[in-house]
């Protein structure tokens, strides 16, 4: 219920719905505080047993109140109601229940509890054997999981960004504020990040003074100064999610999750922050006590109850009780009583618990049970030998505080047990460059936090070689942290530890009993600490139970570690901007615009886009277009953009020697004005790439690579020059994007070119495999007489700015001559007809020998891969080697990826004789053709084999033949 005159938030009303019911909250509410103000105690059903659950905490560690916020594709499951800021029109729904929260059929699991203990699926659901895979596992899998995702694409926008600073301060409570103030005044570049929408940490939730003013007002004064410093950056709503190498941190900023969805603002921003130094001032998290039925709606953390009261003006109950082992929890009782809320009793396990206030204190007592299915009604306590019931609708429990050490474990550090506070503190130096200050380091009074924040800033500034300013420590409370370690109350009933994964004390003891005694095994066997809260509320107590069950002290029992992220991060935030077309850069050729205007469907070739075919208006299938393009090229002329092939400029006195070193064949004999085909091997002797290299000058070459391998070849050359042959004086530069290059192919290719060249070319000035400088309209370009189609062909290159213009001229002139612009399908058919290989054939596991190019590997010089290629296994004639394929029945369509078998053999894996790599319909020959690899291939020309494509369901006979189908002598090339 809302307490008038209390709270530190606004008053403007906001409307929202939860499970279809309308409620009203206030500006500054979280969904949790608004639900509590409206008396809605039941917010969810637990993961395994579907027990009714209520709000436990007031922070991001919340294990129970996981709800779905929003609707449709932009709904976000597993949102902690304690973190979700309220906005007008917010729609939220509870999860993990069917059909409703109040009447959940799956609660039957709770009745089956004896059969569903830790590791149950290793012991039950074993019989009959086949039922596990068919029935049990699918049912269990369906029941498991928390929350659901819409299957529609989520169009909400997210952001990703980088930030750099001298000092990253994580947490803006008293320690963090002092540290940021000191470093800010010292002139360091500071980022102060806090996961909350308001900075101040626990000062926003407590009733206390600093320097004579209310602590939350003091915090605001400090923030006002920090906002005015140009070197300080305040990041609210920003959770630092992970600590990584060399001062790198991940952080998630909730940019617009406090606003209705559907706007232009990014929902979240994932940050990578690079900090020269850091201070972790992340505070501490209160831990529960395990007692029978300690999970009913209305059982909450004591610190959270007073946060709801003091910050949000909400009392989570009308008759509140407190159960504690420490002095700090008594503040909850005092604050509630001062606000006029009935405190029905403080149950303190310590015999010497001090009385104090207008409420009964039961010293040396324990809570042994609770009642109330959908909301707490009574607690049963054991006091001075007898039990009694106390009517209460809210039990505020506290087992003490755990410093928030998580980030310090992200680089494999393990925290250290501290007996004084009965909790873990960070190990020094766990994260290089990180100081830990305040409650995160185990200092719990406000005075200690302020001092420690200053100390940490001093240490960080010193490491940054900057001078720390003189700042007096403000006056604040400095009471001792009085606690008696107390973990659980024995008794009948399940005593819950991990609320999110439904793990209780008996599960831990069972694990120990079954010899899962190490904390790592206990964790995985029971799933304690494995939920999205990574055991924030349960790790220490579970460890205490395990220690006790195995007869060890807590430090001996050890601890599991924490891994990023500290709290859940949506993948959409980490991948902001990289969804859909943003996944990879698009590389567009100079002819791209013109081709799309011609209606060419574009396909991805690596990062590039190339035309599949260029259809005429009346063509309805790709094959129609492809057949026509092949005919037009072979009968007249065709134009295709080949700018995508890698082009590497190579210059220097030792250029020829470099080429001889990386190519298998010899290039040092290549004359100026000539082009040569070459293959390049990897160090392991397999073919890496093929291409042509042209000699343009005395010490000047241009190497071309395949489109897909351009980057790889460039890296290979760099490796050769920097590591293997640093003796070579050669310089290389990528010029792939500097030149627009087009292939002009067909009997009328020269004719077409000569309509555009300033000086016409002929067979004498440029024979086959020649090259040289040319001019087009005064623009200096290059001409190469090379062919991939098997027709007389040239590649003409001009500086890329002129590319589109040249392409359009070539295209339109080609049309006049009865030719065309063609695409990848036709290009592929024509090269297949000539038996030219591509990366479909040199797929990374073939050698020069396999593709019939063994004679290209020169024995007169050393080259990369030469030695490895000569290994016995790689020259065995029984290897799968390149062959051509023709269907026996002309109408059969070949498909790549099919396997080849002896014609009478069973088409199973062990009988495979080879496989098919490339296929295409050849209008020139009138049937499909293909290339593939077959054991002893070259010796089997004329043999008929069985062609089986298991994926597409085809099975017919094929003839093995020479891998050249058209113009084997190459007469057409030479024109």
């Amino acid at each position: 219920m809302r307490i008038d005159g209390h709270g530190r938030i606004g008053t403007a009303p906001l409307g929202f719905t939860f499970d279809g019911k309308r409620y009203e909250g206030r500006e500054g509410d979280t969904l949790a505080s608004a639900l509590l103000a409206n008396g809605a105690a039941l917010v969810g059903r637990s993961f395994k047993y579907h027990r009714p659950r209520g709000i436990l905490t007031a922070g991001s560690e919340e294990p129970n109140a996981l709800v779905s916020v929003g609707q449709g594709a932009s709904a976000i499951p597993n949102t902690r109601a304690t973190v979700q800021e309220l906005y007008d029109g917010l729609v939220a729904r509870s999860q993990n229940r069917f059909p409703t929260l109040k009447h959940d059929l799956m609660a039957v699991n709770d009745l089956m509890a004896p059969f569903l203990g830790a590791g149950f699926y290793y012991k039950t659901f074993m019989w009959p054997r086949g039922f596990w895979e068919k029935l049990y596992e699918p049912v269990i899998r369906h029941a498991a999981g928390l929350g659901s995702l819409a299957s529609d694409y989520d169009h909400e926008v997210n952001e990703k960004a980088f930030a750099h600073c001298d000092l990253l301060v994580i947490g803006a409570g008293p320690a963090g504020l002092m540290a940021a103030l000191a470093a800010g005044r010292a002139g360091a570049d500071v980022i102060l990040a806090d996961e909350n929408d308001r900075m101040g940490g626990r000062l926003l939730a407590e009733v206390e003074d600093i320097d004579g003013v209310e602590a939350h007002d003091w915090a605001e004064e400090v923030l006002t100064e920090l906002r005015g410093l140009p070197n300080v950056r305040l990041m609210t709503r920003t959770t630092v999610t992970g600590a990584y190498d060399q001062g790198t941190f991940g952080a998630l900023e909730r940019v617009a999750r406090h606003l209705p969805p559907g706007g232009d603002a990014p929902r979240e921003c994932f940050w990578r922050i690079s900090a020269r130094a850091s201070i972790l001032a992340a505070g501490a998290l209160e831990r529960p006590i395990a007692f029978p039925d300690n999970d009913r709606p209305g059982v909450m953390m004591a610190g959270a109850v007073r946060a709801y009261l003091n910050r949000w003006g909400v009392a989570p109950g009308r008759r509140v009780t407190v159960f504690a082992n420490n002095d700090d929890a008594h503040r909850t009782a005092r604050d509630l009583a001062a606000a006029g809320v009935t405190v029905a009793g403080v149950i303190d396990v310590r015999e010497d618990a001090a009385p104090g206030g207008d409420f009964p204190v039961f010293a040396g007592a324990e809570v042994v049970g609770t009642t109330g299915r959908h909301a707490l009604e009574h607690i049963t306590i054991r006091y001075q030998g007898s039990t009694r019931n106390i009517r209460t609708d809210c039990l505020a429990m506290s087992g003490g505080w755990n410093p928030t050490v998580h980030l310090t474990c992200h680089m494999n550090g393990r925290p250290v047990w501290n007996d004084d506070i009965a909790s873990f503190v960070p190990a020094p130096g766990a994260i290089p460059g990180m100081e830990v200050a305040g409650a995160a380091a185990g200092h719990f009074s406000t005075d200690a936090c302020l001092r420690d924040g200053l100390r940490a800033a001093g240490a960080a500034l010193s490491a940054l070689e900057q001078k720390a300013p003189d700042i007096p420590v403000p006056e604040a409370e400095g009471r001792d942290y009085a606690i008696r370690p107390f973990w659980l109350v024995e008794g009948k009933g399940r005593k819950w530890l991990d609320f999110q994964n439904d793990v209780h004390v008996k599960d831990i003891r069972l694990a120990a009993q079954e010899n899962f005694r190490s904390v790592e095994h206990m964790k995985r066997y029971t799933t304690q600490g494995m939920a999205t809260d990574q055991g924030k509320s349960s790790n220490v107590a579970a460890l205490a139970v395990l220690a006790d069950a195995t007869g060890r002290a807590i430090p001996e029992t050890g601890t599991t570690t924490f891994r990023p992220p500290y709290s859940p991060v949506a993948i959409a935030a980490m991948g902001a901007g990289a969804e859909g077309m943003g996944f990879a850069p698009r590389r567009l050729t100079p002819s791209d615009g013109a081709l799309r205007a011609m209606g060419a469907p574009m396909i991805e070739v690596g990062l590039w886009y190339r035309p599949s075919y260029v259809p005429k208006a009346d063509e309805t299938t790709w094959q129609e277009a492809c057949d026509r393009e092949v005919r037009q090229v072979r009968e007249a002329v065709g134009v295709v953009d080949v700018s995508t092939l890698g082009k590497i400029d190579i210059q220097g006195p030792d250029a020829a020697e470099l080429l001889d070193f990386v190519y298998a064949n010899t290039f040092s004999t290549l004359k100026v004005g000539r082009v040569r085909y070459g293959i390049m091997l990897r160090e392991d002797g397999h073919v890496m790439d093929d291409g042509t290299t042209a000699r343009l000058g005395e010490h000047h070459y241009v190497m071309t690579t395949t489109t897909a391998a351009a980057g790889q070849v460039m890296r290979h050359l760099e490796l050769a020059l920097q590591v293997w042959r640093p003796d070579l004086d050669v310089r290389i530069a990528s010029v792939t994007d500097a030149w627009a290059q087009f292939s002009v192919a067909g009997p009328r290719a020269r004719e077409l070119l000569n309509t555009l060249l300033d000086d016409p070319t002929d067979d004498a000035t440029m024979p086959y495999m020649g090259c040289g400088a040319v001019r087009v309209g005064g623009v200096e370009g290059r001409l190469f007489r090379i062919s991939f189609s098997g027709e007389m062909a040239y590649e003409i290159a001009v500086p890329v700015d002129y590319g589109e213009s040249l392409f359009r001229l070539l295209s339109s002139q080609a049309e006049v001559m009865g030719g065309c612009t063609y695409g990848m399908e036709a290009l592929n058919v024509m090269r297949l007809e000539k038996g030219f290989i591509t990366h479909a054939e040199i797929h990374g596991r073939v050698t020069a020998f396999d593709v019939g190019m063994d004679r290209l590997v020169s024995r007169k010089k050393v080259c990369v891969g030469q030695a490895a290629a000569a290994r016995p296994g790689l020259t065995d004639p029984g290897r799968e080697r390149l062959v051509g394929l023709k269907p026996v029945r002309p109408g059969d369509a070949l498909s790549a990826g099919a396997f080849l078998f002896d014609r009478d053999a069973e088409p199973v894996r062990s009988n495979a004789q080879g496989y098919v790599t490339s296929v295409g319909p050849s209008p020139t020959l009138g049937h499909w053709i293909g290339l593939g690899f077959l054991k002893r291939g070259p010796d089997r020309h004329g043999e008929v084999v069985r062609f089986v494509d298991h994926l597409r369901g085809t099975d017919f006979l094929c003839e093995i033949c020479e891998p050249v189908f058209f113009d084997p002598d190459g007469g057409r090339l030479r024109g």
């Binding site: 698009r586 994007d737 500097a738 002129y802």
Partner: protein, 180 residues
């Protein structure tokens, strides 16, 4: 004789202004990559002095009038706006790269913040002053960023990726400016 028409990477698409930030095309002509041969860096620098330039250190640019030289990687720099001077060809491999890069200049009051969406290196003014250049990532693309004025940063990527650069910049500015 035919006449070819030249078209820069962002012809007719720029300049644009979004949320107070201006994106303008930068299309220097000519652009030549200069890679000194072994032991020839000093000699290359001497050859460049006639243009008022020297050999740039890593991360450095130098300018004199229309002439500019930008460090571009290991033993490589890009000479922009002027033809390579006499004597340089003997000292270094020269390669014409005119039009090979898609280049834009981003101007405005918050360009550091906007570029922080795409560029992982530290772009704060004290660390990345006027005249500094970095080879880095812009989104998923390799490229370079150069600060040419306090409120202006030039970005260069491979020409074929120009559309992606424009798309990424537009998206980054749009989403950033929509923050509440």
């Amino acid at each position: 004789m035919v006449r070819l028409i030249a078209k820069s990477p962002f012809a007719r698409q720029l300049p644009v202004e979004i949320a107070g930030i201006t994106i303008t095309e930068v299309a220097p002509d000519p652009v030549t990559s200069v890679a000194p041969y072994r032991g020839q860096e000093a000699a290359a620098g001497a050859a460049l002095s006639v243009l008022g330039l020297g050999w740039p250190e890593p991360g450095q640019t130098q300018a004199d009038g229309a002439a500019r030289i930008v460090w571009a990687g290991r033993s490589m720099a890009l000479l922009m706006g002027v033809r390579p001077p006499e004597g340089l060809e003997a000292r270094a491999a020269l390669v014409d790269q005119t039009g090979a890069f898609a280049m834009v200049a981003l101007s405005g009051p918050a360009i550091d913040e906007v570029l922080a969406r795409l560029v992982p290196v530290d772009l704060r003014l004290p660390v990345f002053p006027v005249g500094a250049t970095r080879r880095t990532l812009i989104g998923h693309m390799t490229g370079s960023v150069t600060r040419t004025a306090e409120d202006t940063i030039e970005i260069a990527v491979m020409r074929s990726m120009g559309e992606t650069l424009l798309h990424d910049l537009t998206r980054a500015i749009g989403v950033w400016s929509a923050r509440p």
